[in-house]
């Protein structure tokens, strides 16, 4: 396995054997360990000391289903803490088959305003060449991607940033190509696009030709695990073909959360949005059917995905408008802004993808701007104009591009839904308190992907606690976060969690696959320990970066303002929040 280090100070590259001490690290475990080991916690996120690390997961690049995930890590310009954001893309598989365990981008060029691309090929070992990419800056990504395919051919995969990353926004993602070569798959959260931009790097282009592929230590065990995983994903109601995700996408959750009274509406002032049914997954499915004259099921975002939850939304004339309207994007750009026009939501989503913005941070920031009276709630056209301002870098656009917390300060808003500087996703913690604990305590800032499944058989870790008690919820959140840190490292999409929590053989399948690739003998307990180690490193980095446990808190308005319709406040005691990491 290789470590590829790209130093942007002098545009040099070093390819070396991966250090033995990192042998079993992949995905989030790899990025977070490298950031913890090599990035000074007090450095400026956009300065020369920060490093941007890319790593595929343990099973990435193998035939394991739904395993083409790429983790991107750095010190976050948005939270000031450690960040890992992952995406599904052929780019992940290409990095893995080139046997690159970690790709590290470091340093910073002295010259401002020039941007570069790195083109990575394989000839006995990875090889890096640089090209001048300045001509591709200041443009929208759907314009730029075809030019890079034209330059390097169809077989490549692309990682890039939009203007948001060029402007250094706290709200800026790192984008990867999807299977239709669109710039749509984002490691969106935490401003990682700005870290890449700060290094003068516009593209990382991979060409997998002549790559050796992923070495699998125990092929028979791997195949056994892979079969179990496939069976679980194909059987489960949420992940099976024409099941919930394949039919309606993640936006199937809009109506559910709305009825539960937990769909944050108009900047987290209500848990129910009267326009929800008009923007929900069911509405996307039926609108497409009406406009295309046939049912359209969802597609895979990355090679080897058998869940296939990624949607496309079509205009009145049947042409494609955007891909993909995820639940989080649909909510942040829709319900959270009081917007019930699906075409407006689709346009906002398309613009976020075009400018390189995180949809969650964008929608929540606009919600705060609406609360401040910058534009009215519900005004989709005005919201579209604001996103153009962000993408073009006007003075107001730059304020909004800095993210929700900064916009709240600039506009004097007190209802600012963030934790550790990161905007909250689409589950109201006053209505769903379990997820609120994870928002408050995650090392990433408010994050809906930080606390996923644990296998029933290792529920023993939480002892005999009642899962509905505050202590029980905290214990579950801790176990969830540790398991998630492992799933984020194993290469699989987090959505395997639905199937492997309910189908124990699927959970064993994930472990078998990893043991097959690495030649390890991990058990379910080892998985949890592996995840906990990742969390400990992240936590230690954050503490050294000046983020204490007192940052594991909800914004004050959630403790004081009851949320309709259940009229609840967030009342999980601080002691329970502190126990999540206190007992790790």
């Amino acid at each position: 396995m290789w470590f590829v280090r790209i130093d942007m100070t002098n545009r040099s590259a070093a390819v070396s054997e991966a250090p033995a001490k990192y042998k079993y690290l992949a995905g989030r475990a790899m990025t977070s360990t490298l950031v913890a080991d090599e990035v000074p916690p007090l450095c400026h996120p956009l300065g020369p000391s920060n490093k941007l690390v890319f790593a595929g997961g343990i099973t990435t690049g193998t035939p394991a289903p739904t395993s083409a995930r790429i983790s991107v890590g750095a010190k976050s310009p948005l939270t000031g803490g450690i960040k890992e954001a992952n995406a599904g893309s052929s780019w992940a598989a290409d990095l893995a088959v080139m046997q690159i365990q970690a790709l590290v981008v470091e340093g910073q060029p002295a010259e401002k305003g020039k941007y570069w691309g790195a083109y990575i090929t394989y000839d006995g070992k990875p090889k890096v060449e640089f090209f001048d990419a300045t001509e591709y800056t200041g443009k929208v990504l759907p314009e730029v991607f075809p030019k890079i395919y034209e330059k390097f051919g169809d077989k490549i995969s692309i990682c890039s940033i939009g203007t948001a990353g060029e402007f250094g926004y706290g709200n800026s993602g790192v984008v990867f190509n999807d299977l239709a070569k669109r710039p749509t798959r984002y490691s969106g959260r935490g401003g990682l696009g700005a870290v890449m931009g700060s290094k003068g790097l516009k593209f990382l282009v991979l060409n997998r030709e002549n790559a050796p592929g992923v070495h699998i230590e125990d092929k028979a065990l791997f195949d056994e695990g892979r079969k179990k995983m496939i069976d679980a994903l194909r059987t489960h109601a949420i992940t099976k073909p024409k099941g919930a995700l394949n039919s309606y996408g993640t936006a199937v959750l809009i109506n559910i959360m709305n009825e539960a009274g937990g769909l944050p509406t108009r900047n987290f002032s209500s848990g129910r949005f009267e326009g929800a049914p008009k923007i929900a997954g069911e509405a996307i499915f039926e609108t497409n059917k009406e406009r295309l004259g046939k049912e359209l099921y969802n597609h895979a975002c990355s090679p080897g995905c058998i869940i296939q939850c990624s949607n496309t939304y079509h205009k009145v004339d049947g042409s494609e408008h955007t891909s993909c309207i995820e639940y989080e994007s649909d909510w942040s750009l829709g319900a959270n802004c009081g917007i019930d026009n699906l075409d407006h939501v689709a346009e906002l989503n398309a613009l976020c993808n075009a400018y390189g913005l995180d949809t969650i941070e964008t929608g929540v920031t606009i919600g705060v701007a609406m609360e401040a009276g910058v534009i009215p709630f519900g005004d989709g056209e005005a919201a579209i104009k604001l996103v153009h301002e962000i993408g073009k870098g006007t003075p107001q656009g730059r304020i909004l591009g800095a993210g929700t917390e900064t916009a709240g300060k600039v506009y004097g808003v007190k209802r600012v839904p963030t934790v550790k500087g990161q905007a909250m996703p689409a589950y109201e913690p006053r209505a769903v308190k379990g997820i609120g604990i994870t928002y408050a305590t995650s090392t990433m800032g408010a994050d809906h992907t930080a606390g996923y499944t644990i296998a029933p058989e290792i529920l023993g870790v939480m002892g005999k606690q009642d899962p509905l008690s505050n202590e029980g919820k905290a214990a579950l959140s801790r176990a969830f976060q540790a398991t998630t840190a492992f799933i984020d490292s194993c290469g699989h999409c987090l959505f395997i969690a639905f199937a492997i929590l309910d189908i124990a053989s699927g959970y064993q399948g994930m472990i078998d696959e990893c043991n097959g690739v690495l030649g390890t003998k991990w058990t379910a307990d080892d998985i949890l320990k592996y995840g906990a180690e990742v969390l400990k490193k992240e936590r230690a980095f954050n503490e050294a970066a000046g983020i204490p446990k007192e940052a594991d808190r909800m914004p004050e308005f959630m403790l004081k303002e009851p949320l309709p319709p259940h009229n609840q406040v967030f009342d999980i005691p601080e002691s329970a929040l502190d126990s999540v990491y206190g007992e790790l």
Binding site: H236, A237, I238, K242, G243, A244, L245, S247, Y248, V252, L253, N255, I256, M257, E259, A260, G261, G262, G271, R272, P277, A280, E282, A283, E286, Y427, A431, V432, K433, G434, I435, G436, T438, H448, G451, Y452, T453, P456, L459, D466, P467, L468, K473, L476, F480, A497, F498, L501, D502, I503, A504, S505, P565, H566
Partner: protein, 133 residues
């Protein structure tokens, strides 16, 4: 009061039980039914087989999941908002952990294997065939 009026929401394919057979996005209706009407009575009134609905809410409180329907004898009150979802909808555990449920549902979850820690309850079969939950 001899009659109650309900606020009924039918989502996705269930919308066809709202009067327009072509509707597939959502339907909102306000049936007047006798006092004492239960969820079972409402489903009969709509002509909606109980097993065709999955996740159900009464006034924002979870009352049923696919394969787990402890709400059939729950008596509805005037003005109640009842939302019925199709079987291709979902609500993963971690996004409902700590959310409100009607007492019958809270008890059913508490008594189920692993105290409700699942993403789906397929009708008639439990995960891994370990018996009905």
């Amino acid at each position: 009061m001899s009659e109650i009026t309900l606020d009924v929401w039918l989502y996705g394919p269930l919308a066809r039980y709202g009067g327009n057979a072509q509707e597939k996005v959502f339907a909102n209706l306000h049936p007047c039914l006798p006092a004492g009407t239960t969820v079972r009575d409402l489903l009969n009134h709509l002509g909606l087989p109980a097993e065709e609905r999955g996740i159900t809410f009464i006034n924002g409180d979870l009352s049923a999941m696919p394969g787990m329907q402890p709400d059939l004898d729950h008596e509805l009150r005037d003005g109640d908002r009842i939302a019925l979802f199709h079987l291709r909808s979902m609500w993963p555990f971690q996004y409902r952990h700590g959310a409100a449920a009607i007492p019958e549902m809270a008890e059913a979850l508490q008594q189920s294997r692993d105290m409700g820690l699942h993403h789906a309850y397929d009708p008639g079969k439990a995960p891994d065939g370990e018996g009905t939950i």
